[in-house]
């Protein structure tokens, strides 16, 4: 009779699986709730947000997360014991293995306080203990000890991922710093040389150029913010070209054609200027005679399209492909760097497009969406 009734509900039974399956799903779901907070690293805020779910995983009356010396957060009953967490963490931090804590620090006068004994498990990133997970209960069991140990391992995994995210961010920052540092000594030397040549013949122009140079370096070395507006970036490009023109004179011809609608678009800091620098270098320094640089910004509805074009010696497409792939041996280091940052910011659809061939000049296309979540100048 019972089997028939269950037969009457076959879909439910097959869909949800056995009781054990469902317990697994519940556990996985609870873990997934805790993971976003933990992926931000081990802080008071992330500990507070994740601890509720960790306690659900452990089924203990109270749990705590600590760093190496003090509690970050406490969830559950008996919070007056939070001060003891530091002392409980200390031996685990030293030895790096899960163990039962010294119950003597947990005595108290509170009636029905469930916090009598404790299991303390280390949180380990790269073989370094960064904190502990502490599960409190009236009586610790082998089951609780095992569960605490496993949950602590899982939390450690999440924290390691957080560390990975952080190092990826640091890498991006380092790339921008590299770009800033990349303002080549040659450029500085050549600009100052060109300015010096005007000091006697045309002091006013020398003074103006010197101010441009100051503004240009101030922008390039600025410290704050990953993003800027296209207008700011183009202004810096203009200063750069002005300084290059002081050096090259009539040999450098520049056309700028910018749709005013796209000037407010937010772009990664220093995403156009390295391209222009490349264009000047390839367009002029290698070839004799006059070089033309063309910089165009189009309004394309929800996107903005920026072209940087030179009519110089061009480049072997295979070499450009390697430069975009990050091969640092090539002299277009800026290209791969800009490409990588555009992709990390806007997604893989928004990488650089380079059209070139030996002797046919080079055109670099940059597509930037007018709006992307989190991208604000």
């Amino acid at each position: 009779m019972r089997t028939r009734i269950r037969h009457g509900l076959p879909r439910r039974v097959t869909d949800l699986g056995s009781e054990a399956d469902r317990a697994t799903f519940r556990t996985l779901h609870t873990a997934s709730l805790a993971s976003p907070a933990l992926r931000e690293g081990l802080t008071v805020a992330s500990a507070e947000r994740s601890l509720k779910h960790l306690r659900a995983l452990l089924g203990a009356p109270a749990v705590a997360l600590t760093d190496t010396s003090a509690a970050l957060a406490w969830d559950g009953e008996g919070e007056h014991h939070a001060e003891a967490c530091g002392a409980l963490a200390e031996p685990v931090v030293r030895h790096g293995s899960t163990r039962a804590g010294d119950a003597s620090v947990l005595t108290c006068d509170v009636l029905a306080c469930p916090v009598d004994e404790v299991v303390v498990a280390p949180l380990v990133i790269d073989e370094r203990v960064v904190g502990t997970l502490q599960a409190f209960s009236t009586r610790t069991t082998a089951g609780l000890a095992r569960a605490t140990d496993e949950v602590a391992r899982w939390v450690s995994g999440q924290l390691e991922l957080a560390e990975l995210d952080a190092s990826r961010r640091r890498l991006m920052e380092a790339e921008v710093r590299a770009l800033r540092a990349q303002i080549s000594p040659h450029f500085i030397y050549n600009s100052l040389g060109a300015i010096a040549s005007f000091v006697r013949t045309d002091p006013d122009r020398a003074r103006e150029l010197l101010l441009e140079f100051a503004d240009f370096t101030r922008y390039s070395f600025r410290r704050h913010g990953d993003f800027t507006t296209l207008a700011e970036e183009l202004r810096s490009v203009e200063r750069y070209l002005l300084l290059e023109q002081a050096r090259f004179g009539e040999r450098l011809q520049v056309t700028l054609n910018v749709a005013p609608e796209v000037l407010a678009v937010a772009v990664p800091f220093l995403c156009i200027q390295p391209l222009v620098e490349n264009a000047v270098r390839h367009g002029l320094e290698a070839a004799e005679g006059v070089g033309h640089i063309r910089i165009v910004a189009h309004d394309r509805g929800t996107e903005c399209l920026i072209e940087v074009e030179d009519d110089g010696v061009g480049e072997d497409p295979e070499r450009v492909r390697r430069a975009l792939a990050g091969d640092a041996d090539l002299d277009s280091v800026g290209l791969g760097n800009v490409d990588a940052r555009l992709r990390t910011t806007f997604g893989d659809d928004f990488g650089l497009v380079v059209e070139t061939a030996p002797g046919a000049g080079t055109r670099v296309l940059v597509r930037v969406p007018k709006f992307a979540p989190g991208v604000v100048a």
Binding site: E238, L263, A264, D299
Partner: protein
């Protein structure tokens, strides 16, 4: 085709060519590196305001208002007042924060504020709905204009505008080019102002006669003379829709992105108020002259084209034909600019969220992206309302526009105002409010267009839904947000600080 239609045809052709030509004109700045010219090239508030005016003043303003005034009397003055005052609300509550949010479209704003793809999707659907609702009367009005000016069948004007818009938008020539839209504003103003000046001289030459008293003047000039409670409700509803709907029009929101910062957005809105205020003085003047000379037009049910016919009626002969041609050109510019602005906004959303996701049409990754998706979006954006306007004629130009405003007011207004001024807004609350407002207002619109009209108070409530659908949307949005308080986005506080902090005091 007879000789007297030639000026009209020439005028329409000239406007079309001028629009496409300015659109494809590119400013050249060959010798660069003069001081800081990029900064000096940001769009000035005055230019941007002209562009907003050009895009915003649709055929409804150009033709419809004068016609409504002629037929229904003074309460219809709320249309021009509301169309203008919408920008006052926009100025006070929305303009600068919206710009500072960095959003390009309304769905962008929703995503940035609430961090939810679901809200974005709901907003995209509504942008398309509002856009189509607003495009419908544009096509209908274009048909009316051409049939009045050159005697062409109704469908010709709609198809001509549709094709020009698709070509212009699709080729990228007309896309968001500020100069085209600014040109359209001044063209529209001229096209109403010059004939009006001539006609006023004629009127004074006739000894400034009063209206021909076939209708009761007292009733015509008294607001709500015959409406009673229902009329009062309808008026309030219209006020709510137009005051609050402007901020939710997709093509208006997009234009604010062109401003360099929040302060410029405010200055732009202020200039828009002035420009619109000047423009909206003209239709009532036409209505006044229409009361004197155009009673036959109203009687014949052609009040929508009264502005076009009036020069002919008052000034028979070539002079009248030329003035009519000028007004026709202005009206056509109105349809073109508003339609292309809307088509760009709708095509942008379709290109991003619909045609850009169609698999297998083209592209390396098996989906359309970028420009092809946008073009396909433009075709769809124009084809659907064009088809509907051909199938369902006689929706009434100004009234359909009123419904588009009601729709925008019932959905985007609560989202924008609460999103900007209340940190407690949550994604579920926003979706619930959008759905409530959209279904309420949309349902009312569908019912009024159905063949069996509802009469009595229910009919009035359905015909002018804004007065109940806007509060409904706000209440649902607030209530659901409060119920889901734990879902307030983590960055809400920071985001609001950014919206309300002037750029000059940012670190």
């Amino acid at each position: 085709m007879t000789a007297d239609v030639v000026p009209g045809v020439v005028a329409v052709a000239l406007v079309t060519i001028a629009t496409l030509a300015i659109g494809s004109y590119r400013q050249r700045f060959s010798r660069t590196t003069s001081d800081f010219f990029v900064a000096s090239r940001t769009v000035r508030p005055a230019l941007n305001a002209s562009a907003i005016g050009g895009e915003y003043l649709s055929g409804a303003s150009f033709l419809g208002i004068a016609g409504l005034l002629l037929v229904f009397g003074a309460d219809m003055l709320w249309y021009p007042v509301g169309f203008t005052a919408g920008y006052l609300v926009l100025l006070v509550l929305v303009a600068a924060p919206l710009r500072r949010s960095g959003a390009y479209t309304l769905p962008d704003f929703a995503e940035a504020r609430l961090g939810s793809r679901g809200v974005r999707a709901a907003c995209s659907v509504l942008v398309v709905a509002v856009g189509w609702l607003y495009l419908l009367p544009q096509f209908e009005g274009a048909g009316l204009t051409l049939s009045a000016a050159v005697g062409a069948p109704r469908w010709v004007g709609a198809v001509v505008v549709g094709v020009v818009v698709v070509v212009g938008v699709g080729s990228g020539g007309m896309r968001a080019i500020t100069f085209v839209q600014a040109f359209q504003y001044w063209l529209k103003l001229t096209a109403l102002l010059v004939p009006l000046a001539v006609l006023l001289v004629v009127w004074m030459g006739d000894g400034s006669p009063g209206p021909v008293l076939r209708t009761d003047t007292a009733q015509w000039s008294l607001p709500l003379a015959d409406g009673g409670g229902a009329g009062l409700y309808a008026t309030y509803s219209l006020i709510v829709a137009t005051f609050l709907g402007t901020m939710g029009l997709p093509h208006v929101a997009v234009r604010f992105y062109t401003n360099p910062d929040g302060g410029a957005a405010r200055r732009t809105t202020l200039v828009v108020l002035v420009l619109l205020g000047v423009f909206y003085l003209l239709p009532p003047a036409y209505a006044l002259l229409g009361r004197v000379y155009g009673e036959s037009l109203a009687a014949a049910g052609r009040s929508d084209v009264m502005v076009l016919e009036l020069p002919r009626v008052m000034l028979p002969g070539m002079a009248g034909e030329l003035l009519t041609a000028l007004v026709t050109a202005g009206a056509f510019a109105a349809f073109l600019s508003t339609s292309s602005g809307l088509a760009v906004a709708v095509a942008g959303v379709l290109g991003q969220d619909v045609t850009g996701r169609l698999p297998g049409l083209a592209g390396r990754r098996g989906t359309l992206s970028g420009v092809p998706a946008f073009r396909l979006g433009a075709v769809i954006a124009v084809a659907v309302p064009l088809g509907v306007s051909l199938l369902v004629p006689d929706l009434g130009v100004a009234r359909s526009v009123g419904l588009a405003f009601a729709m925008a007011a019932s959905t985007f207004c609560p989202l924008l105002v609460l999103g900007i001024w209340w940190r407690g807004l949550t994604a579920p609350g926003a979706v619930a409010g959008l759905v409530a407002g959209g279904l309420g207002c949309g349902g009312a619109i569908v019912t009024t267009f159905s063949p069996a009209p509802v009469t009595g108070w229910a009919g009035v409530l359905l015909e002018q839904p804004a007065a109940w659908s806007v509060p409904l949307a706000v209440l649902v949005m607030v209530a659901v947000s409060l119920a889901t308080r734990d879902r307030v986005p983590a960055h809400a506080g920071r985001f609001l600080v950014r919206l309300h902090t002037p750029e000059s005091v940012r670190p």
